[in-house]
Amino acid sequence: MANKTKKILLETSDVIIENKEYLTELDAAIGDGDHGINLARGFKKLKEKLENETFTERNELFKLTAMTLISNVGGASGPLYGTAFLNISKVISDERLDLDDLVEIAEEAIAGIQKRGKAEAGEKTMLDTIIPAAESLKQSRDNNLDLETALNNCLETAAEGMKNTIEMQATKGRASYLGERSIGHQDPGATSAYLMIKTFITSYL
C-alpha cells in the first residue's frame, strides 16, 4: 500500500511543479504572485525525499509530506497544507480505504486547515474546493454508492467548488485587501487544492 501512496504523492508533486506558472499567475491577479513558486519549491523537495527513501507505512509518507511542506513552502499555504497532511497522517491506516475512511481523512484535513487558517466555506480559499469535495464523499457514503462513482462525483464537486470561487469576494488572506476587486478571479489556493484532489483520485482509480 505504501508503494502506491508514494506513487500518488510523487504524481501530485509533478502536477504541482508543472502548474507552477499557472498558479502563480492566478495569485498575481489577487495576491502576491508566489503561490505556484512556493508550492513548487516544497513539492520539489518532497519529490527528492520520496525518491531517496523507502517507506512501509502510509502514515510515514503523509507525515514526511507534512513536515517537508511546513519547512519549505512558507507563506500561508505551507502551514495550511502542512497541517492538513499532518492530520491525515494521524488517521490514515494501511488497510484498503473505504468511503468511511475517506470521509474521515477529508474531515481531518479540513479540521487542520481551519485550526490554522480560521476560515469558513465561502471566503474564497482552498476550503471552497475541499469542503464541497468532502460533503460529496459523505453523501455518496450515505447513499451507499460504490467507491468509483463516489470518487468521480467528488472530483466533479471539487471542480465546481474551485470554479465557484471566481464569483466570491475574498475575506481571508491577502486577496481580502482587494475587497470587491477580488471578484472575477479564480482563487489560487482553491485551484492548487483541486489539482491535488484530482491527482489523488485519478491516480487512485
Binding site: 502576491d32 504572485g33 513558486i37 512556493n38 500561508a76 505551507g78 490554522r116 487558517g117 485587501y177 482587494l178
Partner: protein, 329 residues
C-alpha cells in the same frame, strides 16, 4: 521579463544574507542551514526581539539586527513568510532566559508560521510572546478583511521595543512599548510602477504610462485604487489625509514622519515628497519631532513611496532617541 542582477532565482535570499553578514563589520552571523541573521553576541542578557518575514523588503529586517534593535531576523523567500523551523532556530539562538518577543507584520502567512514557531518554543520551555503590526490605513480593518497590513511602521516598533529591551525591561514591559507604537503609528503607500519577483516571469501588477496605484502594500500586491497619475504634492496630500483621518492628532502634538522609498524611487523624489509632507503638517499645527527620509521597508524595485506618521509622547521620544548600533537617519 525584467532584468535582475542575480545569479539563480532559487538562491537570491541565501546569497543576500551572506552578503549582509559580510558587510556587518563582524556584528552579525548567519545560522547554519537557515536564512536567519543574529547578533554575533547572542544571546544577550535581556528580552530578545525576533522579527522577520518575506525577503525583498531590505533593509528590513536583517538591517535592523543589532544592539538597541532586533536580536534576530528571519528571512523567508521573496515576499513569502519564513517557515516555523527557521523562526524556531532564531528564537532558540537569541533567548537568554529572559523571554522572546516576536514582532510580526499582519499577514496571514506570517502569523501562522510565527504561531507555529512560538508553539514549538513554548514546548521547549522558552517564554515567547508576540505583537502584530498593522499600520497600513489603506486596508480597512473590518470583519471582512484579514485586517490592516503591517508595513513601514514596523521599523518604529523595532526601534522602540528594542530600546526598551536594551534598558533591561521585562517581556511584558517590552511588549507594552511595542503595542504603544502600534497603536500610534499609521502608514499609507502608493506606486507608479510595480515590481517583479526574481522567480516570476511577469510583474505583479501592471500600470499604464499615466496611471498610479494608491494603497499598495509591500508585496507587489495591487492597491486599493488605480487612478490617473498626479503630481507628487497632490499624492502626498492624499496619503496624509488618509493617515490623519485615522490617527487623531491634536494641535501641538508631536509626531515623527517617515518618507519611505519602495526600492526603485530616487532619493530626489522622496525629498520632494518630504518637502510637501512637512509643509502640510506644519499648516495643520502638528509638530514634527523628527523626519526620516530613505529606504526602510522596500518592495524590491517598486517605484513608489509610503508615508508613516508616529504620534509621540515623552516616553516614546526617549526610546526613539536611545542609543543603538543601527542608525536610522
Amino acid at each position: 521579463m525584467g532584468k535582475k542582477l542575480i545569479n539563480d532565482p532559487d538562491n537570491v535570499v541565501s546569497e543576500m544574507i551572506e552578503g549582509i553578514v559580510m558587510a556587518s563589520h563582524q556584528r552579525l552571523e548567519k545560522l547554519n542551514d537557515y536564512n536567519v541573521v543574529v547578533r554575533k553576541d547572542a544571546p544577550v542578557e535581556k528580552v530578545a526581539l525576533v522579527s522577520g518575514g518575506g525577503s525583498g523588503h531590505e533593509p528590513a529586517h536583517a538591517g535592523y539586527v543589532g544592539q538597541g534593535m532586533l536580536d534576530a531576523a528571519v528571512a523567508g523567500d521573496v515576499f513569502t513568510s519564513p517557515t516555523p523551523d527557521a523562526i524556531f532556530e532564531a528564537i532558540k539562538t537569541v533567548d537568554s532566559g529572559n523571554g522572546v518577543l516576536l514582532i510580526i507584520k499582519n499577514y496571514t502567512g506570517d502569523i501562522m508560521n510565527f504561531e507555529m514557531a512560538a508553539e514549538m518554543a513554548e514546548a521547549e520551555g522558552i517564554e515567547v510572546d508576540h505583537v502584530v503590526v498593522n499600520d497600513d490605513v489603506a486596508v480597512e480593518d473590518s470583519l471582512y478583511t484579514t485586517g490592516r497590513r503591517g508595513v513601514a511602521g514596523t521599523v518604529f516598533v523595532h526601534k522602540i521595543a528594542g530600546a526598551k529591551a536594551a534598558q533591561g525591561a521585562d517581556l511584558k514591559e517590552v511588549k507594552r512599548s511595542a503595542e504603544k507604537v502600534i497603536k500610534n503609528v499609521r502608514t499609507k503607500g502608493m506606486a507608479i510602477n510595480p515590481c517583479q519577483l526574481p522567480a516570476a516571469e511577469k510583474t505583479t501588477f501592471s500600470l499604464a504610462e499615466d496611471e498610479m496605484e494608491m494603497g499598495i502594500g509591500i508585496h507587489g500586491e495591487p492597491g486599493t485604487e488605480k487612478t490617473k497619475l498626479k503630481k507628487v504634492d497632490q499624492i502626498v496630500e492624499l496619503l496624509l489625509d488618509d493617515i490623519l483621518s485615522d490617527l487623531e492628532i491634536k494641535t501641538n502634538e508631536k509626531v515623527t514622519l517617515m518618507i519611505n522609498g519602495m526600492g526603485g524611487t530616487p532619493l530626489m523624489e522622496l525629498y520632494i515628497a518630504n518637502r510637501k509632507a512637512n509643509q502640510l503638517l506644519k499648516d495643520k499645527g502638528i509638530k514634527i519631532y523628527k523626519t526620516y527620509v530613505g529606504e526602510f521597508m522596500t518592495s524590491l524595485e517598486m517605484e513608489g513611496l509610503s508615508i508613516t506618521i508616529l504620534k509621540l509622547d515623552d516616553d516614546l521620544i526617549n526610546l526613539l532617541e536611545a542609543e543603538s548600533e543601527i542608525n536610522l537617519l
